[in-house]
């Protein structure tokens, strides 16, 4: 870190706090922050002002339906996470958002059995099973340089129904980080509408609401909280569909 570096980025502090830096510039600035104590101090000082801005907004009451639909999802997911939970139907949701859920024991055993039958271990894409109804479990390639113990699989339940991506051996991302799922059709990569985090054991689940019809590949990258509109790094997970 040189004084020149600091001078080059010093004025970015305000724009960064206000969300006015484009994605790539924000990432470059974040990298600069790691090595520049002066900018970090300035950031924390000015953060007080930026954090006060939402306080200037006129208060409006959110509609009760917002809380109702939110809590329906949350309570259903809390029940699914509970080991003693009985199976329950999926909750009604306003948004086509991904839904995280823990691995149901019977499904976990079924998937594990499929892995053994298919003999698919580690890197590479293998079709493990294909049910009569179009259900498939696809293994994924996980970048071993990033996650040496990583593994993932995609459960496809028919072409147009939500698909489920299950991962393990990943790292809990630091504050502000999230895993984002993408779909690739030909040369076009789009957000799959699924962000997820992993637990302390490195495992996590993401649902791809639109399924994988016409999708060539499902990808996962690490992005800032809230996700990105396009991948900002090479995929750490790939599943050929």
């Amino acid at each position: 870190m040189t004084a020149t570096d600091h001078e080059r980025y010093a004025d970015d502090v305000g724009a960064y706090l206000l969300g006015a830096l484009p994605e790539l510039e924000a990432q470059i600035f974040e990298r600069h922050l790691m090595g520049c104590g002066a900018c970090r101090d300035e950031l924390e000082r000015l953060r007080l002002a930026a954090d006060a801005l939402p306080g200037s907004v006129e208060a409006f009451e959110p509609p009760p339906s917002l809380k109702r639909s939110l809590m329906e999802v949350v309570e259903a997911e809390a029940r699914e996470r509970s080991p003693a939970a009985a199976p329950s139907p999926p909750p009604r949701r306003r948004l086509g958002l991904p839904r995280l859920q823990t691995l149901r024991p019977q499904l976990a055993w079924a998937a594990a059995a499929l892995v053994l039958v298919g003999g698919a271990i580690g890197f590479g894409v293998d079709r493990l099973a294909r049910g009569g109804s179009g259900d498939r479990v696809l293994s994924a390639s996980v970048d071993p340089a990033v996650f040496p113990r990583g593994s993932a699989r995609l459960e496809v339940h028919g072409q147009s129904r939500p698909a489920t991506l299950r991962v393990s051996g990943l790292r809990v991302l630091g504050s502000g980080g999230v895993y984002e799922v993408w779909t690739r059709r030909g040369g076009t990569v789009r957000p799959a509408g699924a962000l997820f985090a992993v637990g302390n054991d490195g495992s996590g689940v993401a649902a791809i609401p639109g399924g994988v019809k016409g999708v060539d590949e499902v990808l996962v990258t690490r992005e800032r909280a809230g996700g990105a509109t396009r991948p900002t790094e090479p995929p750490v997970i790939r599943v050929r569909v």
Binding site: A10, D11, D12, V13, G14, A15, L17, L18, G19, A20, L21, P22, R45, L46, R47, L48, A49, A50, D51, A52, L53, P54, G55, S56, V57, E58, A59, F60, E61, P62, P63, S65, L66, K67, S69, L70, M71, V73, V74, E75, E77, A78, R81, R94, L95, L97, V172, L173, S175, G176, V178, L195, F196, A197, G199, N200, A225, G226, G227, T229
Partner: protein, 192 residues
């Protein structure tokens, strides 16, 4: 064990520990405390009730699903929640989800859903809002403008530079100076 009544007495940071353990009741209390501010911020940014609801819901679901990520040393739960809402609001604006980019102003909101003044806390927050608004109002015109265009309008520094016909460096400088002045003004208010 913490009963349903006790849970309302917990501090936000303590609630987040319960949320991290998958406690939906604790999450509901967090929503009750900050859902209004989240919705209001989203509404202020996008000027559209339906999109504001979607942004709020996405933000709170991401909080529920990635709840291990809250770190108390990084600031208050409220700031953290509103930071996530702000990020999602910017994302919605930049993805052109809001076709009508009219910014909600005091006069421009057709569907008023004003929150009632229910508690001392709400009154205190209303006072705080007036204080922050006054502090923004004290900023030199161009500094206030670039801050509002960036924070509430979701515009990048490049877009603002084009809009205001000024160099990017000037825009960034005014953002920084504006925040610095805002910080000083708010600190003076607290000291009084």
């Amino acid at each position: 064990l913490i009963g349903p009544k006790d849970i309302h007495r917990l501090a936000d940071e303590e609630l987040m520990e319960l949320v991290a353990a998958g406690d939906a009741g604790a999450f509901e209390v967090v929503y009750d405390r900050h859902g209004g501010a989240a919705f209001s911020l989203a509404y202020r940014m996008v000027g559209n009730r339906t999109v504001a609801e979607d942004i709020s819901q996405e933000a709170f679901l991401s909080i529920w699903r990635s709840r291990v990520r809250y770190q108390r040393e990084r600031g208050s739960v409220r700031s953290w929640v509103l930071g996530i809402v702000h990020h999602r609001g910017i994302d919605a604006l930049r993805r052109n989800l809001v076709h009508d980019r009219r910014r909600a102003s005091a006069e421009g909101i057709e569907e008023r859903l004003e929150a009632p003044q229910r508690t001392d806390l709400e009154v205190a927050r209303r006072d705080e809002a007036q204080t922050v608004r006054a502090a923004i109002g004290e900023l030199p015109d161009q500094q206030g403008k670039v801050i509002q265009l960036a924070y509430f309008g979701g515009f990048t520094h490049t877009q603002i530079a084009e809009m205001l016909e000024m160099p990017i460096g000037t825009v960034k400088g005014r953002m920084r100076l504006g925040l610095e002045k805002l910080r000083r003004t708010l600190n003076e208010e607290v000291a009084l």
